[in-house]
Amino acid sequence: MTDAILVLEDGRTFSGQAYGAIGDTVGEAVFATGMTGYQETLTDPSYHRQVVVQTAPHIGNTGVNDEDAESRRIWVSGYVVRDPARRPSNWRSRRSLDDELRAHGVVGISDIDTRALTRHLRERGAMRCGISSTTADTDAVLAAVLASAPMVGADLSAEVTTPQPYRVDALGECRFSVAALDYGIKSMTPHRMAERGITTHVLPSTSTADEVLATGADAVFLANGPGDPATADAAVATVRALLTRAVPIFGICFGNQVLGRAFGFGTYKLAYGHRGINQPVQDRRTGKVEITAHNHGFAVDAPTDGAVDTPFGAVEVSHVCLNDGVVEGLQAHDVPAFSVQYHPEAAAGPHDAAYLFDRFVELISKPGIAQRGGR
């Protein structure tokens, strides 16, 4: 066993055992409360540059399989768990998580009081941290942490997006095609669309409106992704251009923030974000509550007391988080666009919000919506 330390930007230090690769890493410390789905979490591009603290104590029990990864690699910059499995046990397991982390060079730490760390982050807010299994010198680690780039102002989608466009074909008959702007898309998303007869053209995050339209897509999907939405000026410009042309748009997570900015709303950083698969979101039109998967450190700043006028007509906050009232969804009345701050593809997470993909299909099926002028 190798000792390891975790040092937070405010100096608080935790000592534990090395987990995964031996080495050093820095990133924004965030906690995730899901009790299942560590493989999906690790491979979610939205966790790029983040050190993920798992609040569930036992991690790695089901190993790593060949089906559940959400992208081609592990994105987290560091991993913090309390009790890693000594051996996996599941009929789909192919290898252990420990081996997988080592193979991907992911530095982690185990055997620390993850609840104490979580409470610290809850009280003081998300902050940078470093993990080292090569030195016990906390000052050196702290210096590296302080020298690292903060999350506010970080433009990260370019770092995680696909370099080249690619296509995910509809399962069965192709009814529509959608262009997805990849700010950090997860593989379950095109899969959910493929299940509904949609072929998805996944495009680099920097694609322009013309490049998007050149695919001939019926609609545009704005993906999730890491980083500070305030930096996404180019993406916002692209979306505004698409809104002007009344292209049906569905955005999630970072995509919700980009759409929000396109409508003219601001974004802001949450104290410690929403990262879990048990977040209650209320659809304000039906009053119904869905249990949803979240992974966001930033949110849209929009009034929740009714529709507001934007350069693209009336826009209303459609969904809110019941825990803290954070804006979780936007619905435009005069252009065919809507978005949610959470993850309807739900990998990991409950499938309550899968209907949003159906709603997207309905939106695409009714191209005249913009002309009808909404409500």
Binding site: M35, P57, R87, A348, P350, H351
Partner: protein, 1102 residues
Amino acid sequence: MPRRTDISSILVIGSGPIVIGQACEFDYSGTQACRVLRSEGFRVSLINSNPATIMTDPEFADATYIEPLTVDFVEKVIAVEQPDALLPTLGGQTALNLAVALHEGGVLEKYGVELIGADIEAISRGEDRQRFKEIVRRVGADTPVSLVCHSLDDAIGFAESVGNKVVIRPSFTMGGLGSGLATDAAQVRTMVARGLAASPVHEVLVEESVFGWKEFELELMRDRNDNVVVVCSIENVDPMGVHTGDSITVAPAMTLTDREYQHMRDVGIAVLREVGVDTGGCNIQFAIDPVTGRMVVIEMNPRVSRSSALASKATGFPIAKIAAKLAVGYTLDEIPNDITRKTPAAFEPALDYVVVKVPRFAFEKFPGADPVLTTHMKSVGEAMSIGRNFTEALGKALRSIETKAAGFWTVPDEPGTVEELLARAAVPTDGRLYHVEQALRAGASVEQVSAACGIDAWFIDQIASLVELGAQVMAAPSLTPELLRRAKRHGLSDRQLAALRPELAGEDGVRSLRARAGIRPVFKTVDTCAAEFAAQTPYHYSTYDSESEVTAQLDRPKVIILGSGPNRIGQGIEFDYSCVHAVMALREAGYETVMVNCNPETVSTDYDTADRLYFEPLTFEDVLEVVRAEQSSGTVAGVICTLGGQTPLGLAQRLKDAGVPVLGTQPEAIDLAEHRGAFGRVLAAAGLPAPKHGTATSFAEAKAVADEIGYPVLVRPSYVLGGRGMEIVYDETHLEDYISRATEITADHPVLVDRFLDDAIEIDVDALYDGSELYLGGVMEHIEEAGIHSGDSACALPPITLGAADIARIRSSTLALADGVGVRGLINVQYALGGDVLYVLEANPRASRTVPFVSKATAVPLAKAAARIALGATIAELRAEGMLPRRGDGGDLPADAPIAVKEAVLPFHRFRSPDGSHVDSLLGPEMKSTGEVMGFDATFGTAFAKSQAAAYGSLPIEGTVFVSIANRDKRAAIFPIKRLSDFGFRILATEGTAQVLRRNGVAAEVVGKFSDGPGNIVEKILAGEVDLVLNTPWGAPGNSGPRVDGYEIRTAAVSMGIPCLTTVQAAAAAVQGIEELIRGDIGVCSLQARHEQLASWRGAGS
């Protein structure tokens, strides 16, 4: 959608007596429901026959009916109360079945009562196995192949088609009664026959066996707006084949990926919607093939269940409370989460800890019973523990359960080869994990063990990690702080470490080593959200981690109340009742109350009960750490050990020795009462007679004592609760047999040999003593004579045959005992009145099982008063403030006071010997009952009839009675049997009994004994030709003729569910009850009205 305004009064149905499969979890759920409904402004009426429940305390409902849970009595309550609505989902299967029966009988319609929280159609869809399977398939999910059978032939044919490896489940029974696994054609035949008999609708489901698959449960909630949340996932460590109530279970599920878990969640929600559960909680069980991952749905409970109580305690999400709110119209998003207070109940709890539940069994009470675990529940209780990893939680749970072994390595191994050990681990039994551990330690691989027992390799590997850790602890040259810390982090108790390192001089040595190294647990919080939001409710558990969350409180002195741990026979809900009362009384008196307990079924472990809750094992180590944590965060006035039964009582002396203030009766006084010699001196000093007795540590000594005092003698080990190991011995041969079986006799724990008082009346007394004044709480007269354990004996309060002079003698004797022992609080004394001598059988300076019964019968909260006395209040002060009556006590109730009868409820029908026959239902000095009911009415006959109706279904008012009476009882039995004959009953009797009856003018028909062959009485009972059995046993235990006859008769009665009376006294009482029933119209009366009656009598003075 807010609270409904179109209903204003609601009837809640409780679950009745504690039985296997339905325990105090329904007191927890019912109490929460009553609390919620009243705080929402509804008029709440309640019916429940169990007096030991908190929910039947008069302050929890507007009108409380302690009446039998039968359709007749519920209808009577409905007629009086005229409720707008009926809430049946919080009283277990009993309440749900009653609701269905009330609906089918047209009662609900007749009185215009709306069913809330449940829908009759949905109940039927959920419980009718065939319809349920169709629903599961309709939503695209899988179920085991099966066939619903109404005949033996159908079942045999189907079973053959799937290879005779099938599970048989009768419809509409609770706790899996009558269900089981058959692996060959012969088993199929016997089990189907039994199942058809057990099902009220004569229906069984025969299905493909998924024995050995992984087993999971989801706890779901739905509101009227169709919002659904999964509160908790539970994984059974024991694979399919063991009833979930008998399995070791873990929350959350440990071995599912998100995809698999979400698939389970999707199916669960789809099934819930399709079944149409109206609002509230529901539980769905799944099985997964560990090789292919194929998932099948097993069953659902459309109501709050034992698992939902566990899930509530495991997550901090109070399912029953929320179910009650949903039933009256709220939606999940409108209900706040109690723990965070700022987030809503519409969410799914996230756990950052592991919860392990371990069942507690009582096979030692039923010597012939088959100890192999099946789909038929056999456990009598459970303990839950919380840790930050599985090994820690498992270790805490294993020591919480209070069996002889308190975690691995604490008792000597049963030797065996690896093969033998693997074979042992393959059989599901109580304590199977000990075999698993031993097999691993003997060198078996994780794969081998997992293959042998079907337990998932992840769990086996966790135990393997403990085996490795144990080996390291043993092999290390010295126990370094680092290794010690790691051992504690994985749940090893000081006792386990001491067993591994004998040089540390026991548990105390390990504790001082820890103290020197500064290795102490911290206390974390159950907060529903994995620390995402701040918790406002101090619901704590210990763990070895770095940061503690116990916050300082400075304002009020704190009192720590130790609970009673897992339910077992002899120590159950009655003790939880007293603990909860102490909390209520002390809170009101200005103390901050701190509860320590590990039983997830109870009201005491509801975080709403005490100011602070520690969910911890009740061992010295764990309790001491709680005390230290509380002392470092505020002022601890002391610990109350005398209300939770034997468990906390056993800790009192050590806590006191460790410098912890023990409140109320001191450990020295407890010791005085329990040590025969010292107690004898107390009796002598007070001039009180006890039956002749002696102690012995060998057969020779025992024989000498018995010869001197004369047979029959009562023999028992010292220091027991619930009469463990007690027997009445009639001669020397059986004395020798007893001594040879009582293997644990030591000089410290000798066998007690008492003169057995053959025909004395036994009397139970509960009293309070403050050092100068005695308050006689109640005097209970047993209906059975001495020799039947007081917990199994029916009793009446006020006593039915004792005169004022007897009571005066009891009062002065009790005062002398309380003073001589040094009681400050409650004392329970058992007397036997024989030949006009009042013998003292035993005295227990603590709360007894009868405290709730006495409190309800006399309208005086004895446990509350005891708690106050423990903190220094005097009886005079309590009288002045109104907690106790201003004058008089429970000994001077007026002649026309209502009579309360307590009857015990016995679990014999739950246990079978390995060959499938029932175990004997004979009562004796060893307690066997799991619960109790109360019949309360103006006259003894009516009260007794109610108690029988509540315990066993109504006494018959016509039909056939079979009597077989021991010679010694024949004279006394003539009159009651003659009365039955006069009422028109047909009397069947064995030859000897019939002769005596005929001579006395009773036309008795002779019927053959079991040993007489065809046409005998056992056949007649099994054919349903007999409605009541009166059989007083005789002959020595063993294989002698009369004994075997009696055994067969009683077990036949048990399997047919007809009343079986084993004493003449009970028969006499039954005759009075039958007379009242024949006279007709027994009414109902609320507890509040009866209490008012008592209060007005007391107010009038005497």
